[in-house]
Symmetry: C2
Subunit: 360 residues, 2 copies
DNA sequence: CTATCATTCTGCAACGTTTCAGATGATAAT
DNA sequence: ATTATCATCTGAAACGTTGCAGAATGATAG
């Protein structure tokens, strides 16, 4: 834009031509000129280096503040390799339900008080999930990475650990390697969901689980199974149904399921969008939510209980996830031990009380 | 991370020490060394400059591809001022309904084939909306900006035009200044919504409009009013209700409205989340959607007709908005005339057919 | 009075890129 | 034979920053 103006200025060595730089963005050189100090001194003074005199330091910082000096990111990055960028890598097809917004807001909230910028890098699920991660690491285009859709044995985690690149995951792995993560306690969620249905008198339960490749599929399933044993309820298989299916497919599957002779009287569901599709399928089969069958689900936004008040609902706070992930990643970049950067968030039950009777 | 290694290498002038740079990221110097050419020649060859011989150019490009050369963004940025960054500025409190995800995906889809990165910069509605825009312009931290929540007389637009900074808006202004935008045709939407309700036999219509400060409030209201005249229906005031209220407040307002003696028999609503709240309020007042009252609304995701099949629904495609905004902005950065970068997307009606009778 | 030392400040060089102003031959025009 | 023109190529400089090695000053010790 104003490149020519910049090229025009500063040709002479002796007279730095600060007059022409009037409207330009101030740099260290500007401050050096104004204070009569050297550029190096100014640079050090601004970062409170010990070899700068107290008076000088204060003077420099005052001037810098006055003229609104901001370090040039490209200069810093070129010199130090530090990008001051966090890269959020996510699936194009992921989560229609607004989950992304919350996580981004959560991350931004934390980054707002730091020099960090948030770069969002989506990739299509059809492509190699490793690709965007490799890109960031190879080009050094960020100081840290946040990834989601974590698998028990995740190639991205392996790659990042191997390259000693700071990262945090939304979800856990089972690779015997410590890394920063935030996760929702899906085990607790599924178990409590089963107990809730038990209290509602439901004994024949189905599970609409996360995609089987992901870690939290197993957590969910384990929680589900353990609580089944505990409550003495039985599982009605819900074959090949999972959260990654298009909502319309889930609706179909649900309708088919509910038309079977041995249909479930309770369903544990791991996503808000899927729960809506489930209900649609149930009603398509001529059954009534809260009467013939109960559903427990998670939600991040508030309106699910307006959709059907009969739903049992646990809250999952994605902005908390974003905040925790950002905090963990920043600490990791700062060199903290990954073991100390692992958080788990517990389900909070709201909406219909968990001990209400099943008949709505 | 590997900064020390980098500092270690390349001290000698004569022998460039390419051996030690083995594991390092290739730069122009690397290619220059490998091809035996000068750095300048390599730089030019890679961007198809005319003063480079055909053979040389191909040779350089081959080597570059082989070793996986990627220009260093910081280098380019420092030298040219070009950041290859698009900044998306958005409201923290905005749109619970997943609208953000779609728009980000739309933008990313376009940027994927370019060297551009997408930086997301949220700001709280309580702060100055101008602040993040000013930051980007003053620090030159992006080549272009996308903003939303556009007002008829928008200070951000004024600022950006004054500073001749490339931008595109999601929504239109009324400032008599040409700029790149993408907008949904809310005038057409509201008008068609009124006609739809008319065909359903509804004569006493209320409008749940966008926030009154935004441009599309007026578009919506004008479309609504014009179609009222056209169809001979009358308006039932729905005072102080708009989309920016918390959903629970909207529910309350709706319940109050529907308990009034002169309650509407049709409501035009400008947002999916709000429509759900409206329905909740209506049912709270003991009335039945599709019988006592009909609602027309927009949705970006698909599940609204599962919520209540009686809803009249128009689709609003936010990923299209994202794509159009990104395309327009890139062209604007390329110097295109803003007048040629303005797109309007028409409502597409789906779900319940518009000429179905009002009784569901 | 010199040597040593801490304190405080400073040039220079380099990160990777592009632009500017040539340089080098070769070929064409005079 | 001399000059102009052209096609290719090149080194130096600069963008803003920080690390390194060292300079200037004064103080302390020998």
């Amino acid at each position: 834009m104003d490149q020519k103006a910049r090229d025009r200025a500063g040709v002479e060595q002796v007279e730095p031509g600060m007059a022409e730089k009037e409207g330009q963005r101030p740099t260290l050189k500007t401050i050096a000129f104004m204070t009569g100090l050297g550029v190096t001194t100014v640079s050090r003074a601004l970062k409170d280096a010990p070899e700068i005199g107290e008076a000088t330091r204060r003077r420099v910082q005052l001037v810098a503040r006055q003229i609104g000096y901001r370090p040039n990111r490209a200069g810093v990055r070129l010199r130090t390799g530090k990008t001051n960028v966090i890269s959020l890598i996510l699936n194009t097809e992921d989560e229609v339900t607004g989950f992304l917004s919350d996580i981004i807001y959560g991350i931004s909230e934390v980054l707002a008080d730091t020099p960090y910028h948030l770069v969002v890098t989506p990739y299509s699920r059809t492509n190699d999930p490793l690709e965007p991660v490799r890109y960031v690491v190879e080009t050094g285009s960020a100081d840290g990475i946040i990834i989601s859709r974590i698998e028990p044995d995740d190639p991205r985690v392996r790659y990042l650990v191997e390259h000693d690149f700071p990262f945090a995951t939304h979800g856990r792995t089972a690779m015997g390697v410590e890394h920063a993560f935030h996760d929702y306690d899906n085990h607790a969620y599924a178990a409590e969901a089963v107990r809730t249905l038990g209290r509602a008198g439901r004994r024949r339960l189905a599970l609409l689980p996360p995609p089987p490749t992901l870690t939290y599929y197993h957590e969910t399933r384990n929680g589900f199974s353990e609580a089944l044993l505990e409550t003495g309820a039985s599982e009605v298989p819900f074959p090949s149904a999972h959260l990654d299916l298009p909502l319309d497919r889930i609706r179909q599957h649900a309708a088919d399921l509910m038309r079977r002779a041995n249909r479930p009287d309770g369903i544990v569901c791991s996503g808000a969008g899927a729960a809506i599709a489930l209900v649609a399928g149930i009603e398509e089969a001529g059954l009534t939510l809260g009467h013939d069958v109960d559903i427990v689900t998670k939600q991040s936004t508030q309106f699910l209980h307006w959709f059907r008040p009969q739903l049992f609902i646990a809250r999952e706070d994605f902005s908390l996830a974003g905040r925790d992930l950002a905090i963990a990643l920043l600490k990791r970049i700062g060199g903290a031990d990954p073991k100390t950067l692992q958080t788990l968030s517990s389900p909070v039950w709201d909406g219909r009380p968990v001990d209400a009777p099943g008949n709505g």
